[in-house]
């Protein structure tokens, strides 16, 4: 208990407090000058406007794409549903800054391959597309955020039992009327909640906003905060701007929770919901075509491009004439910075995932299995980082640790703290979900047979929650490997990470090695997913499920 509290205080509470303090610390004593500056200064107001605009457009297009795909998969007879589901899953997993980099290879105004093709080969200059623009930024971001709407909308659509719709139809409502009067209101809260999640995630992405936005002179909140750390660093302004950022995020997340809470009546029908699939006739191929376009834009094009670039000597129209492994050799063997970055990221991701899940398990256990006063509070504290964009976390950590005599800044340790702090909510959620599946009576029956607390944990609780903890571990490991938003402010040349190395290489114009490093990143992520499903999944998972079904409830 004490350990968990201390960990949360150090990881989350104290850094946040130093952020608050830093934002009101003026030349002499407390002052609101930083807030005045960030709320009126042209640079900051523009960044705020751009962020909100980016979030709004991304939210809108995420909803259009996510809802369409979710509806197609859940309620129609569209063919190739697995492909559509895969598209959403992969888009969710693939880091948006890699998509952004891939798109610059294709659509940068002068050298982008497709732009060159259109202008110089096809002679259609009016068809070229400049990726370094707001539409370009929205495009790249949407490819990462539409899965939020997809996942929430699909689960809501799948839980609307056909009998609700049939009840409307027998009263005389047509199909369209039913869709608008019955189905739409039932799933609207879930869809809106997905939209807001898309919004929150979109505005927090440093990588794509730096890669696409900065060349196009579109400065947003994360890139503006980043710029404030150019020498001399403006801690006060960065803190104030960070808090404005947090406020937007928290308001959106609050609305999201409120919408999601209203969803409860959809799940009443439970898993057994009977679904009526709409027969679309020829239209189903139109829908499939739409899905395929999304697949091409979000998965196929970026990854095919990255693979092609990673093997080419020089990226351009005739790249296929000079295929080579030199890029891989360079980043893996010749260039010590990238090699170090890969090892650092592997180490940090392993430690952060283990730490977050372990801490999550302790917090979850305290919350669900004890009656210690204040256990709810512990749970809430562990959820705070959900409202903190990565770069804000970094600003908070820098100020907190710079104020202490411990020289943590620029070490792997501060990165580890940032990752654990950022992803502790995922650890807590995974552990919570796993523990909820284990009925307390399973532990109690070990106790009454004479088992001590330790024996009960070792023999009963841990084996049963292991699959859930593995899933949680993976859920933290994958984003940490490719974390950029917080790392970009916290790294040093010795503690450089994979994502930072990719970004830096890109910034310095090493086009081809960047792609090779991006591919290494994808290999690591795929290997982690494969490994975790092999170890954590399978038989144990099946039995864990059975435990859930065999333990339907508690007594009176």
């Amino acid at each position: 208990m004490g350990g968990a509290v201390a960990a949360l205080v150090i990881l989350v509470v104290l850094p946040l407090m130093s952020l608050l303090f830093g934002s009101v610390r003026g030349e002499q004593g407390l002052s609101l000058e930083h807030f005045a500056e960030v709320l009126t200064g042209r640079l900051y107001v523009t960044a705020l406007k751009n962020s909100l605009m980016l979030g709004a457009w991304t939210g809108l297009f995420s909803t259009i794409i996510g809802l369409t795909l979710a509806w197609a998969v859940s309620r129609t007879d569209v063919p190739a549903k697995p492909l559509l589901q895969l598209t959403a899953t992969l888009s969710y997993l693939s880091p948006p800054f890699l998509t952004a980099i891939a798109f610059t290879y294709l659509f940068s105004p002068n050298a982008g391959l497709i732009n060159v093709l259109l202008r110089d080969v096809a002679g259609l200059p009016w068809l070229t597309f400049n990726i370094f623009s707001m539409p370009g930024l929205v495009l790249v971001t949407v490819m990462h955020t539409f899965p939020f709407v997809y996942l929430l909308a699909a689960s809501a659509l799948q839980s609307v039992d056909a009998s609700y719709e049939e009840a409307a139809q027998i009263l005389g409502a047509g199909k369209l009327r039913t869709a608008f009067a019955i189905t739409a209101p039932l799933v609207a809260p879930a869809v809106l909640s997905g939209t807001l999640l898309g919004f929150v995630n979109a505005i927090a992405l440093f990588g794509s906003q730096a890669i696409i936005g900065l060349p196009g002179r579109i400065v947003t909140l994360p890139t503006r905060i980043y710029a404030l750390f150019d020498y001399p660093p403006e801690y006060g302004l960065a803190s104030a701007l960070s808090l404005v950022f947090v406020l937007i995020t928290i308001v959106a997340l609050y609305l999201q929770r409120a919408f999601l809470a209203r969803r409860s009546y959809v799940t009443l029908a439970g898993k057994g919901a009977r679904l009526a699939l709409l027969r679309l006739g020829r239209w189903r191929f139109v829908l499939l075509g739409f899905g395929i376009v999304v697949f091409i834009v979000s998965i196929l094009a970026p990854y095919a491009t990255l693979i092609a670039v990673s093997f080419s000597k020089s990226w351009g129209l005739d790249f296929w004439k000079g295929l080579t492994l030199a890029n891989y050799k360079f980043i893996l063997f010749d260039y010590d910075v990238t090699r170090r970055a890969i090892l650092n990221s592997l180490l940090l991701a392993t430690l952060a995932a283990s730490g977050a899940v372990l801490l999550g398990a302790v917090i979850g256990w305290i919350d669900l299995r004890t009656r210690i006063p204040g256990r709810r509070l512990l749970d809430y504290f562990a959820l705070i980082p959900l409202g903190l964009p990565g770069i804000v976390m970094a600003v908070a950590l820098i100020q907190f640790w710079l104020a202490l005599p411990v020289a943590l800044y620029g070490t792997l340790a501060i990165l580890l703290l940032a990752y654990m702090g950022r992803y502790i909510p995922l650890g807590v959620r995974a552990a919570n979900a796993a523990l909820r599946q284990v009925d307390p009576s399973l532990e109690e029956s070990a106790q009454i047979l004479g088992a001590s607390w330790l024996t009960t944990m070792r023999e009963v609780t841990l084996p049963l929650i292991r699959p859930g903890l593995f899933a949680g571990w993976l859920l933290v490991f994958v984003p940490v490997i490719q974390e950029l938003s917080a790392s970009i402010l916290l790294f040093s040349s010795s503690s450089i990470t994979l994502a930072v190395a990719i970004y830096n290489l890109y910034e310095t114009g090493y086009i081809e090695p960047v792609a090779a490093l991006a591919m290494i990143n994808m290999v690591i992520v795929s290997a982690a997913i494969w490994l975790a499903t092999r170890i954590g999944g399978g038989r144990i998972l099946g039995r864990g499920d059975a435990a859930h079904h065999a333990a339907p409830g508690t007594g009176t």
Binding site: D439, S441, L442, E444, S445, A446, Q447, I448, L449, G450, A451, S452, T455, E459, V460, P463, L464, I540, G542, R543, G544, A546, A547, A550, A551, P552, G553, T554, G555, T556
Partner: protein, 366 residues
């Protein structure tokens, strides 16, 4: 083997003044080798009582002693692991990641029994509960009834003095429930272990128990043999909970040598025994079970004076018996159960006879 003595036991849930008493001032003596049922509607506090006996919960006041040893008091609670009891949960709580053998042998391992001896004991116990040959199965590969028996075997193999059972049959289908009921009863007789059994099913309680403790609102309402509790309920709640009952308003006309004459209708008076503290003229409710009322065809008008007449207003055929609703001329309607061959028509006048020895009277609640 051991008896349980509970004195003044109370437990409230919720932190503040708005807290709810789950168990209030409970006194209960459970004798050695008995099958005792804690019976009551859901939320009555019976499961809380069981969990207090098991040591999962600390009482707010009162004590629990087993064989003279104090196990629970507000100051100190011997943890479940050191009580030497067994418990079978409503959801069985069979560990899904362990085989049948591993589940059952768990308690023996904790007791450091040599593995050959443990193996033998597990085999014997599994044979006793008809699970021989299923040692290597996982719970997910067993039916609900089989899982239930694994839970039983796991609890019994360590030879507890007391076995606590929390609605162990409520997740089984009706036929299996009846069979397991018989098996449980036989098991208790064979092992001589004290069984404390929680249920909300009065039929189950009547069929299984040596003693039934009826609990409602956290309080003990009545403690006695199944017949005693059924035939002579201590109050309205018990009468109502133990099965179908007519609660007919009446008034005490006079009391003589332990019998009270209660007038239910102008021409219907019953003499009821054992109603202390009720005064003449007091309004009461009389509890009459449907099977203690008999109906007969209305006799000739000449002999009418001696019988009470009612009118059949409804009839439900239930297979092994028939249920009639009979309206008295003064208003009240009685539910009556008769042999299915005894048939009356709707609207037909019938003569009513009530077996007063099986009736009880309670003060009317205003």
């Amino acid at each position: 083997m051991a008896g349980i003595t509970i004195r003044g036991l109370s437990k409230r849930f919720g932190a503040d003044d708005g807290s709810l008493a789950a168990v209030a001032d409970l006194d209960l003596d459970i004798k050695d080798n008995q099958f005792v049922t804690l019976l009551g509607p859901s939320g009555c506090g019976k499961t809380t009582t069981l969990r207090l006996i098991a040591g999962y919960i600390t009482p707010d006041s009162g004590t629990i002693e087993v064989a003279g040893r104090r196990l629970s008091s507000p100051q100190a609670v011997v943890p479940p692991a050191e009580r030497g009891m067994g418990m079978v949960f409503q959801n069985y709580a069979v560990w899904p990641h362990k085989t049948v053998f591993e589940n059952v042998v768990f308690g023996l391992k904790l007791r450091k029994l040599a593995s050959a001896a443990a193996r033998q004991k597990v085999a014997d116990m599994l044979a006793l509960v008809n699970l021989g040959g299923l040692e290597q199965r996982y719970p997910a590969e067993l039916s609900g009834g089989q899982q239930q028996r694994v839970a039983l075997a796991r609890s019994l193999v360590v030879e507890p003095g007391i076995l606590l059972l929390d609605e162990p049959l409520s997740n089984l289908d009706a036929k299996l429930r009846e069979r397991m009921r018989t098996e449980l009863k036989q098991l208790q007789r064979r092992t001589g272990i004290t069984f404390v059994y929680v249920t909300h099913d009065q039929a189950e309680a009547l069929a299984l128990s040596d003693q039934v403790a009826v609990i409602s609102g956290g309080r003990l309402q009545q403690y006695g043999t199944p017949f005693g509790v059924y035939a002579h309920p201590a109050n309205r709640m018990v009468a109502d909970f133990m099965g179908l009952v007519n609660l007919v308003p009446g008034r005490i006309r006079d009391t003589r040598s332990g019998l009270a004459s209660v007038e239910l209708a102008p021409d219907l008076t019953v003499a009821i025994a054992g109603i202390d503290g009720l005064a003449v003229g007091e309004p009461v409710d009389v509890a009459i079970r449907p099977e203690n009322i008999s109906l007969a065809p209305a006799p000739d008008p000449e002999t009418l004076a001696k019988v009470t007449l009612g009118k059949v207003t409804n009839h439900v055929f239930l297979g092994n018996l028939s249920e009639y609703e009979v309206a008295l001329p003064s208003g009240p309607v009685l539910r009556v159960q008769t042999h299915p061959l005894q048939q009356f028509k709707l609207g037909e006048p019938v003569a009513i006879t009530i077996d007063a020895t099986q009736c009880s009277a309670f003060p009317r609640i205003r």
